[in-house]
């Protein structure tokens, strides 16, 4: 009799599709082959994880059709089983998987549609956090403002694609006009996804706002983010771009410039 650890490890590999002959000898037949009993568990795992992926990636599923989606999920799940117990956190790497998955490589926009759907899923379940009072920004002395970093709401993420993934997403909603078409030559998108109240929303940003906000989201200082905005659009009105950021209510905290303390004000 193996240890519990050995038994579970072997059972786990069997669930992911590896042959585990020694495991079969440990299972009572009770009138049905042990392999068939094990299959009941394996099927359940595949079906529920496929359903979880479908719930997170409904547009991808619609674009490739359900049969192909299940085929892709059957390949994805054993290679990338969940690493956490909450299903809403499962499937982040599906976009990268699709990018490398031969049978759908002709759908070049598909991985970016998947990235958008992941961002939407992430926004829906992100932790709650109150917006920063704009007055806190005004308290920062002018000579230190460039060094501050701003934390954005946990639901916010940014996504840039050479494909019109926002239009593709909208054209594939249940209530969309079934005759609507999207031209793949319509140009790329720089998108901000966030939760607004209880809804998830996304929109295209202008080049400067996208550069500023995504630099902040990566943990860059305000000065660094402003430089990125200027590179993206040399004519940018920085004050206005910043004002819009604060007005959108997506900044949740502000951190002091000194790397030694990592503390927010007082200034």
């Amino acid at each position: 009799m193996p240890s519990l650890r050995e038994l579970e490890s072997s059972f786990g590999r069997a669930l992911l599709g590896e042959a585990q002959d020694a495991l079969l000898d440990l299972i009572a037949a009770d009138g049905l082959a042990p392999a068939a009993r094990l299959r009941v568990y394996r099927n359940h795992v595949l079906v529920t994880l496929t359903d979880a992926l479908k719930a997170t990636y409904p547009v991808v599923c619609r674009l490739v059709d359900e049969r192909f989606f299940r085929y892709a999920a059957d390949r994805y799940i054993p290679a990338h089983p969940p690493a956490v117990p909450c299903l809403f956190e499962y499937g982040e790497s599906f976009a990268e998987f699709l990018r490398a998955f031969g049978p759908c490589q002709h759908l070049e926009y598909l991985p970016d549609v998947a990235r958008l759907e992941w961002a939407i899923n992430r926004a829906l379940h992100a932790d709650d956090a109150p917006a920063l009072d704009a007055a806190r920004l005004v308290e920062v002395p002018a000579d230190r403002i460039g060094g501050v970093t701003l934390a954005l709401h946990p639901s916010v993420s940014f996504l840039s694609s050479p494909w019109p993934v926002d239009r593709i997403w909208r054209a594939n909603q249940p209530d969309a006009d079934p005759d609507a078409t999207v031209s793949l030559d319509a140009g790329g998108a720089q998108i901000e996804v966030r939760r607004l109240g209880e809804d998830v929303v996304f929109r295209s940003l202008d080049a400067a706002s996208y550069a500023l906000r995504s630099a902040l989201a990566r943990g860059g200082s305000l000065e660094h983010a402003a430089e990125a905005a200027q590179r993206a659009d040399p004519g940018v009105d920085l004050a206005l771009t910043l004002q819009q950021l604060v007005a959108d209510g997506i900044v949740t905290s502000i951190a002091a410039p000194s790397p030694a303390t990592h503390e927010a004000g007082p200034w």
């Binding site: 519990l4 669930l15 992911l16 440990l26 299972i27 009941v40 969940p82 956490v84 809403f88």
Partner: protein, 291 residues
Amino acid sequence: MIGHDDRVLAGATGAGIGLRTPHIAEFLATRPAVAFLEVHAENYMGGGPALAALERLRCEYPFSLHGVGLSLGGSDPLDARHLARLTSLVARLEPVFVSEHLAWSAVDGAYFNHLLPLPYDEESLDTMCSRVARAQEALGRRILVENPARYLRFRHSPIPEPAFLGELARRTGCGVLLDVNNVYVSCRNFEEDSHAYLDGLSADAVGEIHLAGHSTNDADGRTILIDDHGSRVAGPVWKLYAHALERCGPVPTLVEWDTNLPDLAVLLDEAATAQHYLDALRSRAGDAVAA
């Protein structure tokens, strides 16, 4: 049970329903009369609208938190992040019951989102006991542990499941969440006597009962029942439920439905049936006292 008034505590003695996301809006709009609500803890470990809806409902209904991801029978280290998230959800919702499973669901870092079977021996019992104890310590309260539906058993599994649960309850002080449908499904799958299973349980430890539908499937010419929570509670399961109530008393009972989710009214109807069984038992008990 800290933080709940008498009404809420009293309410948790009847029949409730598992509240699933597609029903939440209708539930919020109509506020039907059910004794309590149960949700899967893992669906509420983020923020956003899901948790906000529960916050609105928890003032009016007693809540039960049912976990499916702690892998109490697992041999990977207990997931500290997950336990911390569960602890903070418990603090936020102040549920009347917190429950998990006599099963494992993760190994070598992979989570299978399924309740996987254990061999019932001393090593599994020690594993379950130490992890249930750790969970109860972290949560600062007693948990209920549910018997899973089983589709296979190990050759080496010398302890019968009801005795295993009884010993787990005795050693850790945890309670038992008796899933009557799972008892029926497992016993049918192994050609065992489901009434004898109930008679082997420590009735005092049972703190909650689950009811649900199951499906009948063919596997290589042999019938396998699967606990798919996708239909009404089957006739024989209601009979077994009546027997469980005779054994355990009028235990709070929850009807679960997860696949092919019906209209909320159907689920409420199932809960009303369970409530009839509970009321009948109470009135018989009242008659016996009067006599």
